[in-house]
Symmetry: none
Subunit: 155 residues, 2 copies
């Protein structure tokens, strides 16, 4: 823990607020200043850690009084939950984004911890590794979608 990078620290800070209050609204320059980073780093943190796969929706506005608002969405409330995850997967998906999808499934209560581990094993880099990165991402997407579609009917 003594050597966390600054992106992780900013992520933690924002998620801590989100743990209590459903949404957080920031001024980009203010947060950047607070953590002593350039403003665009805030975009990086959001882009890599607050995606729809992670269960967050981000809105922003430029100009005077501008803001970035991060909202935690409750996926279970959404009847098209599986549909939205399938859409999020698309026809290519990285391991990183695949992990986020599985985490969303877990957080939504659609799968338990044991099932999470089985799914992660199925889309692991050691499992899907043809040597062609693009092909791997396609296969990973299909495997994930196949699992998602089965969950639709099983649960």
């Amino acid at each position: 823990m003594e050597n966390q990078n600054i992106s992780d620290i900013i992520e933690s800070y924002l998620k801590q607020i989100l743990a209590e209050s459903q949404q957080v609204e920031i001024r980009r320059a203010e947060i950047a200043d607070q953590f002593n980073v350039v403003p665009s780093q805030i975009n990086y943190v959001i882009k890599t850690r607050f995606t729809i796969q992670d269960g967050y929706v981000v809105q922003s506005k430029r100009g005077g009084g501008g803001y970035i608002r991060i909202e935690k969405v409750k996926l279970l409330d959404n009847l098209d939950f599986i549909d939205s995850l399938v859409a999020a997967v698309g026809d290519h998906i990285t391991r990183h984004d695949g992990l986020a999808v599985v985490r969303s499934l877990f957080e939504a209560g659609a799968v338990n911890r044991r099932e999470v581990n089985i799914i992660l094993a199925a889309i692991d880099k050691d499992a899907i590794n043809t040597g062609d990165r693009d092909l791997d991402q396609q296969i990973r997407a299909r495997v994930l979608i196949s699992i998602l579609n089965h969950l639709r009917y099983e649960s």
Copy 2:
């Protein structure tokens, strides 16, 4: 013990920490420096001495604040059974034979019906379908083995 090579020494060092603390997190370059070896030797030590068969799970992250984390996991008592299935899968497996492996898992009580369906979805022909039959069988084998390896321990 009088003729230990450097890999053995690094192994001992890490296992000594693990004897007390469930997991150890290192910076590869730091440990390499400490023992005066090239960084990739750390990968060698981990790959040969901290496998899932030994009861270790390894995670890592690159980039700033990167790390290698080795976690000691509690192995289950079905190891020989899993070994035999891994051997049966080999490096190629058809859907038909894959189904038999999954059925064995179920009949042995290693997985429940829901888990069976998740695994079957993962190795389904629609999920793994590159157009190259041989490649599909290789991928299916790796996906299955990855799942089998995760069934070795409690998580």
